[in-house]
Amino acid sequence: MAASQNKNKEYKNLFNHFPSHLIVLDSNGSVLVSSETFRKLTKYTNKDLEAKKITSLKLFKTKSGSNVIKKIKRILAGKLPKFGELGAIEIVTKSKKKLTVAVNYNLVKSQDKKELIVTFDDVTGCTNLKEDVKTSEALLKDIGALFEKNITGIIIIQNGKIVYGTDYVRNFLGKDYLGKPFVKFIAPEYRVKVMKLYAARLLGRKIPPTYDIKMLFKGPMKDKILDVEIASTLINYKGKKAIMAFAHDITAKKRVEKEIKESEKKYKILADNIDTGLILHGADTKLLFSNLAASKILGLSVDQMQGKIAIDSSWKFVREDGTDMPLTEYPVNKVVSSKKAFKNYIVGIRRKDRKYITWVNVDATPVLVDKALDYVSITFVDITTKKELEKERVEYLVNISKQKNELNTILDNIAEGVFAIDKDNNITLFNEFAAQIFRHSPKTVIGKKYGRFLKFVYQDELVENNLIEEAIGKLKKSDQATLRMDAFNITLVNKMGHKIPVVFDIAELKDEQGELFGYIVTFRDITKFTTIDKLKSEFVSIASHQLRTPLSGIRWFAELLLKQKTSKLDKTQVSYAQQIYDSNKRIISLVDDLLDVSHIDSDEKFGIKKAKTDLYVVVKSVLDDIDHLIKEKGVKVVFKGCTPKKDVLFIDKAKMIQVLYNLLSNAVKYSKRGGIVEISCSKEQRDSYMFCIKDDGIGIPKYQHKQVFTKFFRADNVGLKDREGTGLGLYIARAIIEAHGGNISFDSKEGKGSTFCFTLPKGK
């Protein structure tokens, strides 16, 4: 478009030598006004012209002049068109010089009065009209040829009619446009505008160099409205004034302009609606354009960035490793110096007013025109969050692996076996200790079903049952998350078939959502503990034996003193010997009890040897044993419910004597002087016997009831004199009863007495 405008300008200059001179006549043909140029041309003064009838002017006293006067009269009379050309005439100036002028006219209305504008163009310079025409036609041809290429139509309008048109015009106006009024081809809404411009052009007034109108073109099929840019100029054509119009089809241009506008709009919308920052730098690194995303990422408004160069004090670029970026590495500078595009360049932007660094991933491209750098296009994406996340992730992973290492070190160095299984029974973890005990390497077992490798069984069960399965089942039923399996003698069977006593804990493994994903089992090798336990009971029995020997010596020699057969002691000495004897006896019974307790603690059954036992006999023998106590206390003992030889049970006689001895001696000991001790024996359901020993003694304080059957229990209300026992009697009694499958219980009220009852199954 710019090119055609320039060409129009050139042609305007080309025709600028056509000056315009005019006079305006009133309806009577008198001169109303004349232009200065006209007066200069004709040398007449205003005085010579104003208010003078045109017919009286000497100016037109030529043959062709008089013709023009006649025509003017007819124009004013409305007998000729309102505007047009009157052809070239000769006029005579005041200085008697003859000039050839081309005359045009335009009848206009001014304040309801008719006025005729007559313009004169001095064409004297064009010596020969015929030649002039020739020249202009040749010129037109050249111009036409020129404009054909630019798709510009040229028409010449004379007297309102199209008198000439280039070939190109035919494409639009059809074949028969010549001789037709050009107005016909103007879109109705533009006709007034065009006519005004046409008149102004004829009158030599200033009009815009180009203007856009719509034209009606006679297409091959039907009329078509096209946008046309018009440039016009006044020319002399065939000796007469004519308008040469250059018509340029700008429909395409308009469309393109519209499209450009649209696409600019779209582009703007697009540019502003993407997350990618866009920046356009000039070759001098000045920032020419930036989009919304660029503003958002950099935190700077368009205005703040516009025109700035890359090296600005308000920001500093940082390399990916956090060090300052030298100027040569700035994206723009890199492109400017290398003229090469690059991608995925990580740049940190540190701003004075921000504590954090904004990280961007930059793509940059040079825009070259004729190998010279025109622009630098830079696009970038904010990766700050991504980078932060990545940093966090890396830190997290480092931490995790640290923790994992720690955990593994712990797992591999603790003296407990640890392994985990998933829901499908595959081994997922197997620590060093587990490996040593099972004699399987973690490599061979991890990822495989545990059942093949890890066996836990009850010690005395012949069938190899899998305890893990059982434990999981129990765990599922309970509302606990962990379960300890130590109530039984559990052994682990390793690869070599060795049985190793263990206790193990099993716990559920749950993820953050509480979803179960497996189980973890920790087990402890208790071989040492069982050995220690054995050693302990061995020690106790040996120690007891070793203690008993000197105690026997004390007992026997005290006895020899008391018999007074070998030595004569006085009464006091005898009582001293008696003290030695009694104290020694207490130590002996204490040792005996301790021995029993150590048996009970190491073995629940502690060597119960059952045999047919007559209950009556047992009770009687105990009563005989404590006869001295009974007599001493003056206690009345009532024994009922047992028949000799009838009530025979399958029990351990010696142990049962021990139980009854403990209970009966307690009952007597803690009875009031002259009190009653009742022994009752009754047959219960299912061949079991119920024994009760009731006294009316001091009873046991309520707050101590819970401790009655514990080791070393002593009732607080027992007098000093009676504090003889070891506090193990009831503990041992309960152990013996329970070893027989029975139960022992009591009822007691302080000051009122106690009743101890136990059940005994008849046995085989």
Binding site: H545, R548, T549, P550, D592
Partner: protein
Amino acid sequence: MNNEKKVIIVEDEVALSKALQASLVENNIGFLAAYDGKEALDMINSQKPDLILLDLMLPKLDGFALLKILKDQAETKDIPVIVLSNLGQEDSIAKAVELGIVDYTVKATVDLEDVIDKIKKYLV
């Protein structure tokens, strides 16, 4: 009781042996004392006692081994043996009974009087 009947006391603990001896003297029961298993075996084989008081934990030859030898010899197998031991465990008692003893007594739990009663019972 008369001095013709002979009891052999097999007890390595001198004090206990002395106590037993004193008691036997008081009761006019003839006796000999051996202080280890070997001495006891020799003594029994040469003296042919009427009763043996036997401790189980003995130096040189323990009570169980001695008992086994005695029960394996025709001339000694019928001599009544009363075990006087401080081994109170069931298994020790059972083992001794199996070897044919007549009584098993835990020393610490009895008076000398009780021991004399038992001796008299088997010396008749």
